[in-house]
Amino acid sequence: MAKTLITLTVNGKKIEQAVEPRTLLVHFLREELNLTGTHIGCETSHCGACTVDLDGKSVKSCTVFAVQAEGSTVLTVEGLAVGGKLHAVQEGFTQEHGLQCGFCTPGMMIRAYRLLQENPNPSEEEIRTGMSGNLCRCTGYQNIVKAVQHAAKKLQATPKAA
């Protein structure tokens, strides 16, 4: 199948690559760029395991074509930590036992990262609603809520870290 050249920025790195027009963004990230932290849990955009940040919005990369990301800036779980220092969201998830099998975790964290920029001081209900596009079968969400609260607190204490 004929390929299309796309240019985009992924985790701060400029990428230029030819892809089949039907290639899904999640497969492009996982199989072409070897960024396997973004997972596939369904293929109907319900579970959110494939959530990435695309131009400042949370999107489910299993229902976005790679060609749609032309010219975009993408952030995946691999880009959360900067200079070897964990992002507050990553710290929150481990400190509050917000993960078990770890499969939904990258999508959860990328969503939490964006949520906390949309709403830096969310209530518990706002966190539950804001995270409701991401499914988890292990934790029952209670510790995920705590993890996001932990991150919110930390980000507010150090505003520049965001």
Partner: protein, 797 residues
């Protein structure tokens, strides 16, 4: 304890500490290694052609168009597997299952052919190009209808076989009859009963649906004749044995690796056709082959749970003392009996259905039935059929209480096995190891102000509002199990641990279990830390690679802590004994002159003379005592003397909107007793997760089929997985009643909250309608179904 010892104790982070998880670092940085993350040079992709019919004869399969597509390497059907005798495979339950449909399809989405292609997109294209011609046959969906005379015969391959793996078959669609307890004694109890109740109930077909679906990467090396397969398996060692038996390859040339697993919940215990086909394709092509199912395939074909059509009966005195229990179950196993349970137990541990109650006479019978649905019968976050059993008895005591006009707490406290009766032998023959049910329930009732809740409910009922209070006081049976009574395909259900202490005092430990999120790398190290005085942070835990780990039966049925946890303690104690000999030699005293304190052997009465485990480790490699083998390591295979019996007391409060049918869980209070607690943080996390899965099952999950056997909901659009919005907030509590036979007194915990909560939710829903004469409503209690109950009762006017 003085300050320095306290500090040393803390440094260990041993049993009882809420130690943060060591495995998190890779998961939060996107560096987990799940099956679909594995990429090997030359790897190709397998996809599956599936049946659109639930029951049909295959007239013809035409591969031509698929094979003509560039990038397609092979298309395999049952006829291609026949020469290898791999078109059928044995199941764990003593039946056979078609790997690829052989002449007939028996359920919708059954595997008919597989396509192997250069990438997953081409494979998916090729699946569409395989042309299969079918002759549709009448489908049998209802298990009771399947047993009627003249019902369509599903399994023609079993024609004329009146003996199955579990005794006599009474109908072509009948799999087995299994009985437990004493029928005559139970019948006699019913004959003289002052009061009896009977209730039919369905525990619907549900699916564990872990976030990661099932899959594998099979890589056969034709030069070395070795097969390595990365697989989403909760039991990699058993898979290795099965693959060896099926393929004829020596077990020593097969390596099964369970890498990081994205949740299992029972879904990843069986061996699936996709695994077999990927392995065959890799052997045929000499290239690595990846198969990863999608969510629709996962929900439609791999490992469902439950589907128990149950009738319970209780006999009792007028004042509420239970005198007898009878249960009959029609168990829908689907097209092949692929139940994942100890091989000789076709209904698993269902005969724990007398629950927490001292019932003198009991009898149960389960009839397994074939229908045109996917095979399975896995233990969805429970020990084999224990969830069904707990649901049955926890519902039945409520039914009895309502008949007697008795409080649902009183019926329980009156019939509980009392603390002093342990170890307690049930009417079904199980020996309950330990328990204190009254203390647990009382603690919960105080915490929720039960009397206050009942008073509030009475007020609400006067106003026509619907409020329900559900109670569940369950007992589990976990940790399968003693090899004298249970095995899988003849393999005793022990588990194992190997520990090596390195010269500088750190250690590596490997077990036959496999983590899927339960926290093994963290908690297992804590057991060793306490036993051997090596800090948890210096202990590496590895599982899941059959070439490095000792043989074990895997992780399911809450068996990791009861078995591997025990094996860890026992292996540690072997090392400890040797370490003591070495320490005595170093200190030039007799072993009897030494005492153990946290991380060191001390000479009695002389605090200044001691050797730490670290000192001992160095000596073990540097200068062992004369005549003693160098090194410091041990292996232990633990065959438990009994199961363990965790228990709990739960209360659920629901408010039902009588106009919409929406049931809101206002409060859920869960007290669990899992014996000794290794890591309270992880226990609490497991309980949150189990309660949430219980909530999902009770309130929304069901695999529904129409009359033709079409599955009606096999995506996350239709199959209910609660989000953070619906999920209730959980309150947890505990008591500690150690298991007397487990080396550290632990019982296992992760499944209790699922087993215990499902009946608690139903009991709360029924309780909301109890004053209107309702004794039972079947799950799931979604808004539509609850609204229908309200409509029937005319209370929404």
């Amino acid at each position: 304890m003085n300050a320095p010892t306290n500090e040393r104790q803390q440094k260990l982070a041993g049993i009882g500490e809420s130690r943060l998880r060591k495995e998190d670092a890779r998961f939060i940085q996107g560096k987990g290694n799940y099956v679909d993350d594995i990429k090997l040079p030359g790897m190709v992709h397998l996809d599956v052609v599936r049946s659109q019919y639930a029951h049909a004869r295959i007239k013809k399969i035409d591969k031509t168009k698929a094979l003509a597509l560039p990038g397609v390497l092979a298309v395999l059907t049952a006829d291609d597997l026949k020469p290898l005798k791999l078109h059928w495979m044995p199941t764990l339950a003593g039946d056979v299952q078609a790997v690829l449909a052989d002449e007939k399809v028996h359920f919708q989405m059954q595997e008919v052919a597989v396509v192997i292609a250069d990438d997953r997109y081409i494979a998916a294209d090729a699946v569409e190009l395989v042309e299969v011609e079918y002759e549709e046959l009448p489908a049998v969906i209802d298990p009771n209808a399947a047993l009627q005379p003249g019902a369509p015969v599903l399994r023609e391959d079993l024609a004329g076989k009146t003996e199955g793996a579990h005794g006599k078959r009474t109908h072509p669609n009948h799999i087995f009859t299994w009985e437990a307890g004493d029928k005559a004694k139970a019948d006699a109890a019913f004959g003289r009963a002052e009061i009896t109740v009977e209730q039919q109930m369905l525990y619907p077909r549900v699916h564990p649906s872990p976030m990661e679906t099932c899959g594998c990467v099979a890589s056969f090396d034709p030069v070395r004749g070795e097969l390595t397969t990365w697989m989403t398996s909760q039991a990699p060692h058993v898979v290795r044995t099965v693959v060896s038996l099926l393929s004829g390859l020596p077990e020593s040339k097969i390596r099964i690796i369970s890498p990081d697993i994205g949740g299992g919940f029972g879904n990843k215990v069986p061996v699936y056709p996709g695994y077999v086909c990927a392995i065959v394709a890799s052997i045929v092509l000499g290239r690595p082959v990846k198969w990863v199912e999608d969510r629709i395939e996962n929900l439609s074909t791999t490992g469902f749970g439950r589907d128990y059509h149950m009738t319970g009966e209780l006999a009792a005195t007028k004042d509420g003392r239970i005198t007898g229990l009878r249960v009959h179950v029609v168990a829908d196993h689907g097209a092949f009996d692929a139940q994942a349970a100890p091989t000789k137990q076709p209904a698993g541990l269902f005969d724990i259905c007398s629950g927490s109650y001292d019932i003198p006479a009991a009898y149960t019978r389960v009839d397994g039935v074939y229908t045109n649905k996917a095979p399975g019968g896995v233990s969805y976050r429970c020990s084999f059929r224990v969830t069904e059993a707990a649901y049955l008895i926890e519902r039945m005591v409520d039914v009895l209480a309502q008949k007697l006009g008795m409080d649902k707490v009183e019926i329980r406290t009156k019939n509980f096995i009392r603390k002093e009766q342990f170890p307690y032998k049930s009417a079904f023959g199980w020996e309950y190891d330990s328990g204190d049910y009254h203390t647990a329930l009382n603690k919960v009732l105080d915490a929720v102000d039960y009397k206050g809740l009942r008073a509030e409910q009475a007020e609400k009922r006067k106003k026509g509002e619907l409020m329900g209070i559900g109670i569940s006081t369950f007992t589990e049976i976990v940790g399968a199990g003693p090899s004298r009574i249970c095995d899988i395909l003849g393999l005793g259900m022990f588990d194992s641990c190997e520990i090596r202490v390195h010269p500088t005092g750190s250690a590596i430990a490997r077990m036959g279990t496999i983590n899927q999120g339960q926290g093994h790398p963290t908690t297992y190290a804590q057991i060793i830390a306490t036993e051997l005085g090596i800090p948890s942070d210096e202990i590496q835990v590895e599982e899941g690679d059959t070439s490095t780990a000792p043989y074990g039966l895997g992780t399911y049925g809450s068996r990791s802590t009861p078995l591997a946890g025990a094996a860890i303690a026992m292996a540690s104690r072997k090392i400890h004994a040797k370490a003591k000999t070495i320490a005595a030699n170093l200190l030039e005293v007799g072993e009897n002159d030494l005492v153990w304190e946290i991380d060191r052997f001390k000479v009695k009465g002389d605090d200044a003379k001691f050797k730490t485990m670290k000192d001992v480790a160095w000596a073990a490699y540097h200068q062992p005592p004369p005549g003693l083998e160098p090194g410091l390591e041990a292996v232990h295979y633990y065959d438990p003397p009994n199961y363990t019996y965790p228990f709990g007391a739960y209360v659920c409060v629901v408010d039902i909107d009588k106009f919409t049918g929406e049931a809101k869980v206002r409060r859920f209070y869960a007290l669990d007793d899992c014996g000794t607690r290794i890591n309270p943080m992880i226990i609490e996390g497991q309980i949150h997760g189990g309660l949430t899965e219980g909530y999902a099952v009770a309130m929304g999950q069901q695999l529904v089929f129409d009359r033709e056997g079409n599955i009606q909901g096999n995506t996350f659009m239709d199959y209910f997985v609660p989000t953070a919005v619906e999920t209730p907030k959980w309150e947890t509590d505990f008591t500690v009643t150690p298991s007397p036979h487990h080396p550290i007194g632990a019982k296992g915990v992760a499944e209790s909250p699922h087993v215990g909560s499902v009946p608690c939710f139903t009991n709360a829903i029924v309780d909301a309608f109890a004053h209107l004469g309702v004794t039972h409503v079947d799950m799931p209690h979604n808004a539509y179904r609850v609204w229908k109950t309200i409509e029937e009762l005319h209370v929404n006017k």
